[in-house]
Amino acid sequence: MKKNLPYIAFAAPALIVYVIFAIVPIFLSLLLSFTNFDGFGANYKFIGFQNYATALHDDRFFYSIQVTLLITVVSCFLINLFALLFAIVLNNLRKLKGFYRTIIFYPQVLSFVVVGFIWTYIYNYNDGAINFIFGKLGLESWMQDWLGDSGIVVFSVTLVIIWQSVGFYTVIYLANLQTVPGEVLEAATIDGANRFQKFKNVLFPLMSPAFTINWILCFISGLKTYDVVKVMTDGGPGFKTETIAFNIISQAFVANKQGYGSALAMLLFVFVAIVSVIQVVYLRKREVEL
């Protein structure tokens, strides 16, 4: 015990702060979720499962889950697809590799507030770049109110998320691609594998460490989507782009229904935990070692 003392002292500060500011709040949140706390008064009371019962009939909450899942799944799928493609193309370049990598990556160093703002301008109906280009090409019928049309808006927001973060994921794929030895692909060619088979059976399995980390990082950040929505649409039109994070924050800090907000937060926590565990177990299992 005595010889372990310095090691305990090494871990203790991190553990104490982490427990107080990350673990304890989860339990506080659980407690608050059974109350009608309004964020100010001290005289809130225990109301049992009422908040959870309300949540089960809250169409706005269920809609925010749908929006979040749609944004998350579509952005994860497309980000990984494009990032893998960009990495392969970048890796093939003979010159200007660093230059192109910089151009793809730079949005990552901007905040979502900045990125959301500039795309608000690009999506603008009257003089936004997209409608401007369609107008010049004589494709007036393609012009849309990108952030005002309730059928399109969620995809407009998703595109911005992809634009901002695809460079980051490309860099990770590129690093992994550079560890794949060329001989493996040559061997597959000699064995008569076609291009698609080589990609599916040789290259992609060897890229799975990058795919695992990219998919998980992307999924977790998708479920947290808030900033870009706050800046671009403020959850609108209607509730068409209201994500779970947006919903919880407006319930808790705008409507001051903190007890109810806590119940929604607990549901989100359980949901994220289940999804993460399933993904980690599944993705780790299909990784191959070289």
Partner: protein
Amino acid sequence: MVRLTWIRNYASEWIMAAIALFFAIPAYIAVTNSFKTAKETADSPYSLPSNFSFDNYIGVFQTIDMWNIFKNSVLITVTILLIMILLSSMAAYTLQRITNKWTSVVYLLFMAGMMIPPQTLYIPIVKLLKAMGLAQSFPGLFLFYIGLYMPFCIFLYTGFMKSVPRELDESAKIDGCGAFATFWRIVFPLLQPCTVTVIIFVAMWTWNDFVNPFIILGSQKGETITLAFYGFISQYNTSWNHAFAGMIVTSLPAIVLFAVMQKQFISGIASGAVKG
């Protein structure tokens, strides 16, 4: 290294140029319009400015106390970096070097934190900080960030620590080094690539963070760069040329830093993600 011959080289170059255009256009729009008058932005938003006027930029500096918010953002980012490196590397050292049931429970507890959505924490944290007298203060924000970032940093450090041989610790011990000196003099310098990765991730998250300071520090004061820009566009949302100038000014520090340290950025992200 692998080269896929099925995409011909000239095709790669054309594909890449098209992709680059898609990424460059928004930057072009922001930069050119920040030098135009409101009328010119409205009339010809996509042409080069007819004369470079810095009026919009002067307007930005008259509205935003740039020096102060820049100082705040630097202070927050640097402080949180120092705390995270110090606490997470030391904790990871214990968790990786000592293997018993206590350390594996603690390690699992940290890893479980990666699944905590920050939205779950806002309500209780704001209440907790109020009770501690730290509401809307920088120390409150630091404590929140430590809890939030700790799992990821410990994950990176413990993963990387596996490649630092234990024999080094032992020979240092034989030479009479205590645990503290062994870690700081022998092990920590060898963790440098991992520290670079931690710096890049934590700095990028903290510098560009909007929602956490928005909730913890409050929306009124506009104390960080991101909050200040948000306040600025809420005020100038109809005058695009001013807002673009504000955008350039508030993003410039991060862009310059990225331009200067690009190599470390890219390799830090790549090594952290692929090895971790």
